[in-house]
């Protein structure tokens, strides 16, 4: 019963070990001599290139997570506490439905929206905000962030909605009775109770953005992110051990992130 999990862990450990080996440039054979050269390259090599890529990815992941929290909250609140139960189910459906359409096609659609002659530019030109289409929206980090924020948004809405739905109405009434204004109630009652939902959503969004390689390739420009760099090293620019080192760095980052969030007890909300 546990064999699949063991197999998975062994594969991860194997990946870590591969990062300590090297790959022959010409024949692509893995040479099993233990060495730290991949990590040397990762942390000090090429003028800090890989650390920059790592930093860029973490920054983008953080920004996207924050954007999604900001977007998800009003919608989740509206769904959980303002609308009637019938509408609640309908809106829940509405949030889930996009997930059932191909993620690749949804990402690809952003080219049509953000392109030089795309929807956004046409809108800005028509409303007079721009004189002609701008190339600032597509094929750069901004486009990747927007696309990521879009794709993973339902994963933030759903746990937040679940958490907000569970807040007993009596708490809010009590808080008001005790004289707290809306802001205070939000800060001291709602936020702490919603926190597990925010954390759960953040884990998904942060992790998924750290590893994605599809959006960067389809709507990104020149700069690389971790997911793409890892994929490249296992494919177009074969250097499995270095790719494994990059993957290990990602793995450690996410495990640390996961451990911290588990400590907050956010995942024990059963």
């Amino acid at each position: 019963m546990l064999w699949l999990l063991v197999f998975y862990i062994v594969a991860l450990v194997l990946l870590l070990m591969t990062s300590l080996w090297q790959q022959d440039v010409f024949t692509a054979e893995i040479v099993r001599h233990w060495t730290l050269s991949n990590y040397d390259k990762l942390f000090t090599g090429q003028g800090g290139l890989w650390l920059r890529i790592y930093g860029r990815t973490v920054l983008l992941a953080t920004i996207v997570t924050l954007i999604d929290i900001a977007l998800a909250f009003p919608l989740a609140w509206f769904m959980a506490r303002i609308v009637s139960p019938k509408w609640r189910t309908l809106m829940f459906l509405a949030v889930v439905v996009p997930l059932w359409s191909s993620i690749l096609v949804r990402i690809f659609a952003w080219r049509t929206i953000l392109g030089g002659q795309g929807l956004l530019n046409q809108f800005l030109v028509d409303t007079g905000l721009l004189s002609h289409g701008s190339s600032a929206f597509l094929y750069n980090d901004r486009a990747i962030a927007i696309t990521w924020a879009y794709v993973w948004l339902p994963f933030m809405i759903l746990p937040l909605f679940t958490a907000l739905e569970k807040i007993p109405h009596s708490y809010l009434e009590a808080s008001r009775d005790l004289g707290a204004g809306a802001l205070t109630t939000f800060r001291r009652v709602i936020l702490p109770l919603a926190f597990p939902g925010v954390v759960a959503g953040s884990i998904f969004v942060f992790s998924l953005t750290m590893g994605d390689f599809v959006a960067p390739q389809l709507v990104g420009g020149g700069s690389q992110v971790l997911g793409g760099a890892i994929k490249d090293r296992f494919g177009v620019a074969a250097d499995f051990p270095f790719g494994a080192a990059l993957a290990s760095l990602t793995l450690v980052t996410l495990v640390v992130f996961l451990t911290i969030t588990r400590r907050t007890g956010a995942l024990e909300n059963v």
């Binding site: 010409f26 420009g221 177009v236 620019a237």
Partner: protein, 378 residues
């Protein structure tokens, strides 16, 4: 008290599990065998008149398994073609070797992967007697160094072409003839170039006088890297898929770029007015070969496909789709004099001016190129 002992227990559990798992992983790693370099001297190809195995797995460049000619093949031979595309030779090579080899029967390796394939023992020697159109290929393509070693043939030459300069003639009115335009701030934000480390050879050839742009010393590599870094802010997007290039041009996001004749073809079919140029500083290019896996599961179908795609009439169809130059000289009359000329099918002199992709090994090797390219992209 209870918490501390339970924490200790957890730590001990974790440690034991880790030890066990690492031991398992080491065991798995040690049992992985390396590739057997079994280059058998016997070159007996299969019976190409026998019935095919019913399936054929190919990894290749876009356009080499187009339905316009693959459908005919499947009908004729009953071999169903599964095709997978690769964006770079590295990717093709990696895919070809995955799972111990045998995943794919055929690959269309360019000159920069073909030697790696031969050296690593993943491709089989070909029985040229079974390749019926071989003798009709242009003489320089029958036994070229990139697929024939010591008289042993490991590949059947397929199409070839140059990495050309393509631009939107409606937006750019003058006639361009120099690669300099791709580094000109005048075209900032409208340029697209391939996302491929092998591109390093282009500036090496065109601006730094490297007669063999695949054998460049570290100093030249650094100079090329600097020049490419200068170009970086001008590039709209580094295209990965052939359709990326097409879309960039169609949406107006790019008006000039380095691409393949395949793109010129596609864009013209879509009604765009594009010009294709061989700039004066020289061009790199590719010369592809069909190569057969040592562990191919469908060798009969593979040989049949190689024969099929090297037939003159099919070569014409392939040229229709890709715009690349076919190797079979007998395709010339079918193409008509104009096209035969345009594609330089019988022009050995022209063929020799192109610097075909090779795997850089020394003084700088491909990994160094890949790292340099990663730095350029940032």
């Amino acid at each position: 008290m209870k918490r501390r002992s339970s924490m200790k227990r957890r730590a001990r559990e974790a440690a034991l599990v880790v030890v066990g798992v690492v031991a398992l992983a080491l065991f798995v790693a040690s049992c992985g065998s390396s590739n057997d370099n079994s280059n058998t001297s016997s070159v007996k190809g299969p019976d190409i008149n026998a019935k095919g195995e019913g399936q054929l797995n190919i990894v290749n460049w876009e356009g080499y398994t187009d339905p316009s000619f693959v459908k005919g093949f499947e009908k004729e031979t009953g071999c169903k073609v599964n095709d997978t595309f690769a964006g770079t030779s590295d990717e093709m090579f990696t895919k070809f070797r995955s799972g111990g080899g045998g995943q794919y029967d055929l690959a269309s390796f360019s000159g920069d992967a073909s030697l790696r394939a031969i050296k690593s023992g993943t491709v089989a020697q070909l029985d040229m007697s079974k390749l019926t159109n071989w003798k009709d290929l242009a003489p320089q393509l029958q036994s070229p160094a990139f697929n024939t070693q010591n008289g042993k043939h490991y590949g059947l030459s397929f199409t070839w072409g140059a990495n050309v300069l393509i631009y939107n003639a409606d937006k750019i009115k003058q006639n361009l003839d120099s690669w300099n335009v791709l580094y000109d701030p005048k075209y900032k934000g409208k340029i697209t170039v391939p996302d491929n480390p092998i591109q390093i050879a282009d500036p090496a050839l065109q601006f730094f006088g490297a007669s063999d742009p695949y054998s460049i010393d570290p100093a030249t590599l650094d100079k090329v890297k600097a020049k490419l870094k200068q170009q970086r802010p001008l590039v709209r997007k580094y295209w990965v898929l052939a359709t990326d290039f097409d879309q960039l041009f169609k949406s107006g996001d790019a008006t000039i770029g380095a691409g393949w004749p395949l793109m010129t073809n596609d864009l013209r079919k879509a009604g765009m007015n594009v010009k294709e140029v061989i700039p004066k500083e020289g061009v790199t290019g590719w010369s592809d070969s069909w190569m057969l896996s040592n562990k191919a599961k469908h060798p009969i179908c593979a040989y049949k496909y190689m024969n099929y795609t090297s037939r003159p009439d099919i070569q014409v169809k392939i040229a229709d789709v890709t715009g690349y130059s076919p190797p079979n000289q007998k395709a010339c009359p079918l193409l008509g004099a104009q096209r035969c000329n345009d594609l330089h099918v019988t022009d050995k002199h022209y063929y020799d001016t192109i610097k075909y992709w090779e795997t850089p090994t020394k003084p700088t090797n491909y990994r160094q190129w890949t790292d340099a390219w990663a730095e350029v992209r940032g």
